[in-house]
């Protein structure tokens, strides 16, 4: 079932994120795709994430489609002007891509080409409006298209805004994104379900599917790093301690992620897992959250059946 069908039916969706690598070797990427096949509703393909130059999100979206996985094509406004954005959207449509996540994009200063010209010809809200225009058969200047697009546009929201003012204005911007055509939202990583619940209470009236972001922790330092450097992410001290004290950090990281999903399951319409290198652990995390059946080794299955 497509992401759109799942979300519009009110069912629970699981998306995971994969980041194209720097270079042309896609062996690892395709192995990750194989792991996710059949386990998730759709897979986000990041677009030059953190402003680091990599293989393009459109090409990888296409490779996923060929593999039988539904991509969520992430498109940022940082690197393309309005002509390139619209052209890439037409290309995506021709390649069969349905889901587009419209993002403004991190500043180039944060990445590996800090000298780059930041484009931002459009912002995420304007890009969503443009996607709507393309869907209705026109480019953003009203010129008719020969063959229109049929995108399911989504956007991001940061529910962890750490001041009341920024939370209020994140909600205001979210509303604006909806008005511009966003049909689903994916959030920044959540580590405090209670705070997320407060956000959801306020966003409830929007009646739009929201997929809560999950980042599995690899160790305590990663958590501390995110607290310091990633806007809107806050890992509570108790969780950092749990990671620091853990004997098997991998197992603990997976368990924490599963537990977070269990507590977010009833207050969101899906989860969006950003594994950052731990793509292979996604099935384990989902199994721990009770979202998919635990995979048994073939031998065990035979025994069970015998």
């Amino acid at each position: 079932m497509s992401l759109q069908t799942v979300l519009e039916s009110g069912a629970f969706a699981v998306t995971a994120e994969i980041g194209p690598l720097k270079g042309t070797d896609v062996t690892e990427l395709m192995a990750v795709a194989q792991v996710l096949l059949g386990k998730v509703t759709a897979v986000n393909v990041t677009d030059q994430q953190s402003s680091v130059m990599r293989l393009g999100s459109l090409t990888v979206s296409h490779l996923l489609l060929e593999k039988g996985l539904e991509p969520v094509f992430q498109l940022t406004c940082r690197d393309r002007n309005r002509i390139a954005l619209q052209s890439d959207l037409l290309s995506a449509s021709v390649l069969g891509v349905k889901n587009v996540l419209a993002i403004t994009g991190d500043l180039p200063q944060l990445g590996d080409h800090p000298q780059a010209k930041p484009v931002y010809d459009l912002d995420s809200v304007q890009l969503l409006s443009v996607i709507g225009k393309l869907n209705s058969g026109f480019d953003m200047n009203g010129n008719a298209l020969k063959g229109k697009t049929d995108f399911f546009p989504g956007a991001v929201v940061n529910p962890g805004a750490n001041t009341e003012t920024s939370l209020k204005f994140q909600l205001l911007k979210m509303e604006k994104k909806m008005e511009a055509g966003a049909r689903f939202f994916q959030t920044q990583a959540i580590f405090e379900p209670d705070r997320f619940y407060e956000f959801m209470k306020r966003a409830q009236s929007f009646r739009v599917p929201i997929l809560a972001g999950i980042i599995p922790l690899k160790n305590a330092n990663m958590a501390r790093f995110m607290n310091k450097n990633v806007a809107g992410v806050h890992v509570p001290d108790a969780m950092i301690k749990q990671m620091a004290d853990a004997k098997d950090k991998t197992q603990t990281g997976v368990e924490i992620a599963s537990a977070l999903i269990r507590s977010l399951k009833d207050i969101s319409q899906g989860v969006h897992i950003m594994p950052i290198g731990w793509e292979a652990k996604v099935p384990q995390i989902l199994a721990g959250a009770g979202l998919i059946k635990v995979e048994q080794p073939a031998v065990t299955l035979q025994q069970g059946g015998g």
């Binding site: 809200v125 304007q126 205001l172």
Partner: protein, 230 residues
């Protein structure tokens, strides 16, 4: 007002690698207030060139090097010095260097980098910035310009990078959109923030052809083409 800074000496000496005799020209206008032109800076530069084995054939500070008619008339009196020079080192902004290059058939080396003003008017002490976009939106944003106050120049609200009211690029920078949002809240005009602001029309921020092609100072039109050096 144009702001400039002196290039590193090594870079300048690199430019002058194949030149033995150098004439120094500097500007008493913006470059002097930037500390990169005018008689004092020129004297320092002259000493540096001598130290590095160059012969300074002459020096001259002109009131405004961007004014070609003035450049022409002033250089006329120094024809002898210029004619024995291999090149001219010009201590001023990019406009001045181009104006001198258009007036003298010699290599003109820039001694300065012209700095981006980021919407300021040179060394004006205020913190307000105008990007001259040609489609002012200050009415929607409470008199705070989103194009210049937001690091990304976003038009429809703060991005996810805002943290504790600061920009993610530098905690020393206030999030421009948080400032706008707060201001609109205090003005009780939050509704205005719901307007979807359209993409910028960059055609409006190109200078009009009459500004580009018409000399502002009519005297420029009558200036002789070049100062002869032969």
């Amino acid at each position: 007002m144009i702001l400039s800074e002196l290039k590193p000496t090594d870079e300048i000496l690199g430019f002058l690698k194949n030149d033995r005799n150098v004439f120094i020209l500097s500007c008493n206008g913006c470059a002097q207030s930037s500390g990169t032109g005018g008689p004092q800076q020129m004297a320092v530069m002259k000493a540096k060139l001598w130290e590095n084995g160059k012969t300074v054939t002459g020096t001259m500070a002109v009131d405004f090097l961007c004014e070609k008619a003035l450049v022409n008339s002033r250089l006329r009196g120094r024809r002898d010095q210029i004619s024995i020079s291999d090149s001219i080192l010009v201590m001023t902004c990019g406009i001045g260097v181009q104006a001198v290059a258009a007036s003298v058939p010699l290599t003109c080396h820039p001694a300065c980098n012209t700095l981006n003003l980021g919407g300021t008017r040179g060394e004006w002490p205020g913190s307000e910035r105008c990007d001259e976009c040609g489609e002012c939106v200050l009415d929607y944003t409470g008199g705070i310009c989103p194009r210049t106050a937001c690091t990304k120049g976003l038009m429809n609200g703060q991005c996810g990078g805002s943290s504790n009211g600061k920009c993610e690029i530098n905690p020393g920078i206030e999030c421009g959109w948080e400032r706008i949002d707060k201001r609109m809240e205090s003005l009780n005009q939050l509704d205005k923030l719901k307007s979807l602001l359209s993409p910028r029309d960059y055609a409006k921020s190109r200078p009009a052809p009459k500004i580009v092609n018409t000399p502002i100072f009519a005297v420029d039109t009558f200036a002789p083409k070049e100062v002869s050096v032969k």
